[in-house]
């Protein structure tokens, strides 16, 4: 029995609110020097909710959010949704292990999963648009590591507002 089973709608509502914020953050225009380090907000948010409610937030949610992001950033359909569906699915498979590890190890593992998502994303974009993968594409990992604790705190707050049990 999952702890959040009683409130499926509230999970989705909280997910929508946080994803809306994440979309905005992904689209915001940032200075050039920051752009390479700009974290993958949407991936961080999805990982959090997939950890909290693995029964509700599955590959379908990842796919849907990915498709929305593709429309917003004018990318080819499928480029992001495959990666996000895979990311959420991997978190679903390993959420028990991820939840019980120490904070530091959790950061490391989460960022490793997001790096895998990034790799899939870059591969597909390479296939579609012929882009080459360079070192700069991986700078965002640093951003993800730095930002994950704060994202966690903010999302904990959202979870509390929506009366969801951890």
């Amino acid at each position: 029995m999952n702890s959040t089973a009683g409130a499926p709608n509230r999970v989705y509502l909280a997910l929508c609110v946080s994803c809306f914020a994440a979309f905005t953050l992904m689209l915001v225009q940032v200075p050039d020097w920051l752009a390479a380090f700009w974290p993958d907000w949407i991936a961080l948010v999805l990982v959090y909710w997939a950890l909290l409610a693995p029964n509700k937030v599955g590959p379908i949610v990842g796919f849907t959010i990915g498709t929305m992001l593709e429309v917003l950033t004018a990318k080819t359909f499928g480029v992001l949704s495959i990666g996000l569906a895979t990311l959420v699915f991997l978190v679903n498979l390993t959420y028990l292990q991820l939840k019980v590890t120490s904070r530091w190890l959790q950061v490391f593992l989460v960022v490793a999963l997001i790096a895998f998502f990034k790799l899939i994303n870059l591969w597909l974009e390479g296939l579609v648009a012929g882009n080459k993968i360079t070192v700069e594409d991986w700078y965002s990992i640093v951003g993800n590591i730095l930002v994950w604790p704060f994202v966690n705190i903010v999302l904990e707050e959202i979870r509390r507002v929506f009366h969801l049990r951890p």
Binding site: L27, P59, V71, A74, F77, S81, A85, E125, N131
Partner: protein, 296 residues
């Protein structure tokens, strides 16, 4: 037992989504069937786009109001003098235009197509290393069309690659996937300019070792390929390198348009396409620019 079931359903979901995504990817990268669903979704997601553009517009507003009064006065004086200068130049232009039409008629040449100009507002800028795109606030509802040329007051910016109902996407000339035909202003030498992924450089391709091109040459759009009207400045040559073992020269140029600095761009539409709409838009955009001037 229940856990077993849940696990297999997770795998099922994952595989379904994977197959769906791959199908979408293949369809979208090879055909244009998915454009209309994409348009519908883009309208639904518009609030997010508007919200995301809030910080940059606040930034612009703040820097606008914070600038000291003398600055505004100087800017106003500059604009005023430029306005009168341009006005006198247009007078001259009109007589030249008539003269040109007369000469063309004498030569039995077809008349030069006139382009209608529409003012468009930037909404979102995404400058990755491998995709230089900006979104503008004008879309299908303003009769923007695919392949429309986009310029600013200095030179060519790019072309429309995607038209959605309320916005459209412009690919810049510095996008590594973008190439356009150009001509050297000095001698009419035709060549191609390709983006490099850096905002300050474009490559000039396929010039033989003995081609006549040198530092400082201005490259104009040549009008070949029927996307860009001819005669608009595109880039200025900054470096010409001849390497003995290579078939072509290595020529780099820097774009003339203010790719990363303008908030407004101009859309050029062919007169033949939709004359009346174009005329309406011109009067509208003129009103807007007039309004801007009087606001300053």
């Amino acid at each position: 037992m229940e856990k077993q079931f849940r696990k297999s359903s997770g795998w099922f979901q994952f595989c379904t989504m994977l197959v769906t995504s791959v199908v979408l990817l293949l369809v979208d990268s090879n055909t244009s069937w998915l454009n209309s669903p994409r348009n519908a979704l883009s309208v639904a997601l518009r609030p997010i786009q508007v919200l995301a553009s809030v910080p940059s517009s606040i930034g612009n507003w703040v820097s606008g109001t914070m600038s000291a009064e003398p600055d505004v006065k100087i800017a106003y004086e500059n604009l005023r003098s430029e306005y009168f200068k341009l006005k006198s130049e247009t007078l001259l232009l009109r007589t030249l235009q008539e003269e040109n039409a007369g000469l063309r008629a004498l030569l039995d040449a077809t008349e030069r197509l006139e382009e209608k100009v529409t003012l468009a507002e930037l909404m979102q800028v995404s400058l990755d290393r491998d995709s230089h795109r900006v979104s503008i606030r004008q879309g299908l509802s303003d009769s923007v069309y695919l392949g429309q040329a986009v310029v600013d007051d200095k030179g060519v910016i790019g072309q429309i690659t995607e038209v959605m109902p309320l916005s459209s996407v412009v690919v810049l000339i510095t996008d590594p996937g973008h190439a356009m035909p150009v001509q050297v202003e000095r001698n009419g030498l035709r060549t191609i300019v390709r983006g490099t992924g850096s905002l300050s450089t474009v490559d000039v391709l396929y010039l033989n070792q003995n081609s006549d091109i040198k530092q400082g040459d201005i490259l104009l759009s040549s009008g070949l390929g029927e996307r860009f009207p001819n005669g608009y400045p595109v880039a200025q040559v900054v470096d010409v390198a001849i390497i003995e073992d290579e078939a072509f020269m290595r020529v780099t140029a820097s774009p003339i348009a203010k790719l990363d600095r303008s908030n407004h761009v101009l859309l050029l539409s062919r007169e033949a396409k939709n004359m009346e709409v174009g005329a309406n838009q011109v009067s509208q955009s003129q009103k807007e620019t007039d309004g801007d001037l009087s606001d300053e």
